[in-house]
Amino acid sequence: MAQSRVGETFAKRLIVYHLPLFFFLLFTLFPFYWMFVTSIKSTHETYNREINPYVPVDCAQTIAGQTRALSFNGSALMENCFYHWRTLLRDTLFLRWLRNTLLVAIVSTLISLFAGVTSAYALARLRFRGVQTFGLLIFITYLVPPTLLFIPLSDVIGDLPLFHRNLLNSPWALIVAYPTFLVPFCAWLLTGYFRTIPRELEEAAMIDGATRIQAMIRIVLPLAVPGLLSAAMFAFTLSANEFLYALVFIYDNANKTVPVGVVSELIKGDVFYWGELMSGALLGSVPVALIYSFFVEHYVAGMTGAIKG
């Protein structure tokens, strides 16, 4: 599992490597186990203070019973195990919210990548008057907290005369608002990354007759793919997680994103529908988790390049 070090006994490896890793994984993943168990427990089990909360008894019994009898009973399984998942998917607009979240996240990411790439190239490669100031300004935007921005921002977005339509209450309000916190980070990350790419490559291309823009697109960008992926994944995560703007700018249930929809539909005043909330949390993080599992190597590589620069 790990590189063995010279002269390291098994006992030492256990203490220094395996055990801490085990506790880290426990620390990180226990809440997810808890979310999963709560989502497949029946409601009365959830509200029982005495029984063992770690084991979804009803569900386990159903599965055990079916396994022993070797007979599959889909509806019993649904009632006892996946009741909350079914409620979430059937009786709320969860899939719609997921679609909205993905739409907003993808488009915001693309916009932020575009702005990030262009400004990063300028900051990393070009010397022109004001480049330092501009870099500073980009950082400073980070300091402006969303809790300060969101009222004036809702004013600005509400007044935007785009296609004679009211942007508020549509995913476009978020697509316009999210780059405010995504672009600075993408710009910073990509600036660092571009700095690690040797200038000689572009200069060689320009000597051969390419324009600067052609050099940027054909030479630098392909080499910066890990950095681009890193920035994209980061931006995507931040977009999918955002709550305050989504709460304030969007009203219609059908237009909400996953965080806002789950919280507003599944907490009905007095009652928290824990089973559905937990399954919503798990389903709401699956798309992003999948992407990460495929690209986590690139994510790491992208960060590596950025910090070298």
Partner: protein, 322 residues
């Protein structure tokens, strides 16, 4: 080739010449630079700078929700003075924010490096474990925090149940278990814990990236010189990840200091204001209590602190570059 400009640029040749001169223009660093900056500048100006200016202006007024701008009075620094001298919650908020950010950052830093070192050794299941470790950071904060609301529930907490079972197994009698969100000090600790849980993966993966830039030769050389594992860590690993450390710390401090969701979901600033951070208090004052001017002032108090943090980073990086 690209610089050929002809004096008489008309007709078909003229088009080519015009085309060429546009391209020539784009070769100028000044022009290209400004052009490339345009998208970002657009976003920042309209959607950050302008609303921010609006917010700053608001903090110098007595604006309340629904108050017409014609009625709004400019009152200078009065809001700030009132917050500092009269408001009974403000200084508690300051204290909470610093404690929350300070403790969480230090712990995330330590845990992050530790976890990164462990992940770096891993070969099998590498990808799976790295993705698993990132989960707390990937899952939407609001949703994972609601899970913690249930984990910390005074009657149904799974932690307390476990403690109770342990006590009865040991024969120590009945114990209710800690009041995670009911006791003021413990509540601050609980929200800090959730922040640590959420943020450690980010530190770990970033440090992991940093670790991979350290050349193995350095470790070999140190080992040859007789350095122990701990000494190698202290003299090779830590300095090697200094660049990424600065960047991660700055980003994390800014995000943690202005954190909103965790406290909003778990306690709304209670019990007795012991978990209010700048963002949640500003929200309560401005949105719930409709005093926008004062709320804006609360928000803006974050600015100098965060600005200092950024300035430190820039100074440090500048020094490293020279």
């Amino acid at each position: 080739m690209s610089q050929e400009l002809q004096a008489d640029g008309f007709g078909a040749d003229g088009a080519r010449v015009a085309h060429k001169s546009v391209l020539a223009l784009l070769e100028q660093p000044n022009v290209l630079g400004y052009l490339l900056m345009l998208p970002t500048a657009f976003v920042i100006f309209f959607f950050v700078a302008y609303p921010f200016g609006w917010g700053v202006w608001m903090s110098f007024t007595d604006k309340k929700v629904g108050m017409a701008w014609s009625q709004v009075k400019f009152i200078g620094l009065q809001n700030y003075v009132d917050l500092v001298t009269r408001d009974g919650v403000f200084w508690l908020t300051v204290w909470n924010s610093f404690v929350y950010t300070g403790v969480a950052t230090v712990i995330k830093w330590v845990l992050g490096i530790w976890l990164a070192v462990l992940l770096n050794r891993m070969i099998r299941f590498q990808r799976l474990v790295r993705a698993a470790v990132l989960l707390p950071w990937i899952v939407p904060t609001v949703l994972s925090t609601i899970a913690f609301l249930w984990i910390f529930d005074p009657d149904f907490s799974v932690i307390n149940w476990t403690i109770r079972r342990f006590y009865s197994w040991m024969g120590w009698g009945y114990v209710r278990g800690p009041l995670w969100l009911g006791d003021p000090t413990l509540a601050l600790a609980s929200v800090t814990f959730v922040n640590i849980w959420r943020g450690t993966p980010f530190y770990a993966i970033s440090f992991l990236a940093g670790l991979q830039t350290i050349s193995p030769d350095l470790y070999e050389a140190a080992a040859i010189d007789g350095a122990s594992g701990w000494q190698r860590f202290w003299h090779v690993t830590l300095p090697g990840i200094k660049p990424i450390t600065v960047v991660v710390l700055v980003f994390s401090i800014i995000v943690t200091f202005s954190d909103f969701q965790i406290v909003y979901v778990l306690t709304r600033g209670g019990p007795a204001n012991s978990t209010h951070l700048f963002a949640t208090y500003a929200y309560q004052v401005a949105m719930v209590g409709t005093r926008l001017g004062i709320g804006a002032a609360v928000s803006l108090f974050m600015f100098p602190v965060l600005a200092l943090v950024i300035i430190f980073q820039l100074i440090y990086l500048k020094r490293e570059q020279d």
